[in-house]
Amino acid sequence: MSDMAIRMEHVYKKFRKGEIYNSLRDLIPALTGRMFQQRELSEKDRREFWAVQDLSFEVKQGEAFGIIGHNGAGKSTALKMLSRIMRPTKGCMVVNGRLSALIEVSAGFHGDLTGRENIFLNGTILGMSKREIQSKLDQIIAFSGIEEFIDTPVKRYSSGMYARLGFSVAAHVDPDVLIVDEVLSVGDYAFQQKCIERMKEVLRSGAAVLFVSHNLKIVAEFCHRCLLLDKGQTVLMGTPQDVISRYLQKPNGNAVDNNSGPVSISSVRIRNEDGECILFRSGEQVWIDVEIAARRRCNKLSVTLYILDDKLAVIFDTSTDLLGHGEFDLEEGDSYRCTFEVCLNLAGGTYYPSILIYRRDIQTVYDKWEPATTIYISSDGGVRGIANCFPHVIRQQICQASHADAAEIGWNSVVPDLNR
């Protein structure tokens, strides 16, 4: 097992919640109080909870491993144990080689020191030797793009410069294991791209990357394997596609349980020619199958499909009614199915198709799944935004100011066929 980079075996972590005495003034009365009045053991047990339970996984060298889960699922606790900031209550783990964490890239900065001094300070905190930093200093400064201000105290920096400098230092540590925790959610677009580029580079060099994020699109694109945590327990480990769809199913399952209305959505599936999927190409034809069931008799229903972008803005909205199929009635126990055929003319990104059942004349929403599922559109590049209009450049001209007749030449040389 020489190519193993991280191994966790049956790791548990217990936290105590509730009152914690953080001053002697509180502790001493509490201790004397405890002596005189015997507390039940169960109360102590109740105050404890397991943040991580029986966590086992392995990551090989050159592998990207993602951990996803809702807030409080134990993702960060797992990473903190791996980076040895916290000690597991039970279990054992092995990390092969130098571990570097892109968690808080500017945690070690001190405002009164200059950018240059902070590079050395943060570099040593991240585990580089002084000589190593010295040799990479020019690269680090160039990468950060703030050569001009490198001898200014960092407290005068803008927050963007701060983050950039922090990241350039962290990016120049050559780790065997790289841990990335939510760092992508704070930066702007360019910063995220830099992070991803860097992670890919690290992967190519044969290191393992452990990646924690709520940004499922990046997880889906980047990770080889994925782990889903819920309340500290492993739900599923497998390919990103499987794990992400399982992660997205969960709230839907709850919605069904909670719904006691007369009509409810029982399933929403999205598929392409090859079957059910969540990762699509821009412009791809997909089918969205909706199944609804009636508990009681209902009239004049229609099914609405709408799509939200990653900022939860509605970018597309239609319904069976609007598409000319009219409203339909359901008897008690009936079920209804419909399929929307949709062309995903969307630019790359994350989108949330959502479904609701609606009766127009009394303005009632019977059931709503928002989002019904999450899809990722991969685009060949070249377009940004939301819509993909599949543009092509069919003519291009360069007008040179110095030669009045240059425009004519440029025109003809790019599209010579036009005149034919």
Partner: protein, 261 residues
Amino acid sequence: MKEELKELFKYRELLYMITYRDIKVRYKQSIMGFMWAILMPVLIVLSGVIVRYGYAVASHAPLKTADIAGVAVKALPWAFLVSSIRFACLSLISNKELVTKIYFPKEIFPIAAILASLFDFVVASAALVIFLLILRVGWSLYLTWVPALLVTMVLLAAGIGMIVSAAGLYFRDVKFIVEVFLTFGIFFTPVFYDASMFGEKGKWLLLNPMSPMLEGFGACIARHQSPDLHWFAYSLACALLIFLGGYVFFKHLEPGFAESI
């Protein structure tokens, strides 16, 4: 413990960088700059001179240069102990970000605080040498005791520093308690006075492990005598014990730092 020391050695550059940061930040942007290192010892020396003058008047004995030199010599190590323990006590809390985010041996923080104070001590010592030359104290072979006394001093400060920093992380009122002890500690430690002034009862004062060390500095620098060997051995033993005990205590609590801070 061997493993832990090996790891600390591995992180020696970080210790150096954190010490450098602590020193740099303290001297940067302060009007007084290096005078800062001298201010506190000067104040202690001045108050010592006043106290000694009071003794002299009360006992109708003349105020000797050796007495003033003795106060000056003892003021510096005392100022070092006070500032190093104070900074060490806050060192973990004020580096919260690093304690919770990144792994490395955390004893680096209290130790760096002590090394930064040691830097102040060295600066102030240069001033002290000039002062002693003005007083024409002179020198003797007993000065060879100074390194041993310095080691005792640093061990003691580091041990106490590690204990109070770890305790201060768990209990927020530790820093106030430490502050009170540092303020009034000067009355329980022979800085302004000599333990010998109390005659037989003076030995109770020497039980404070800082006392024999301070008396030792006074003896070998100002009075050209050998320190009291028994008491020095006691002081050194206490310092070693506190240092090792403090280190074990710190290392024992360290795994809980990130979740308790």
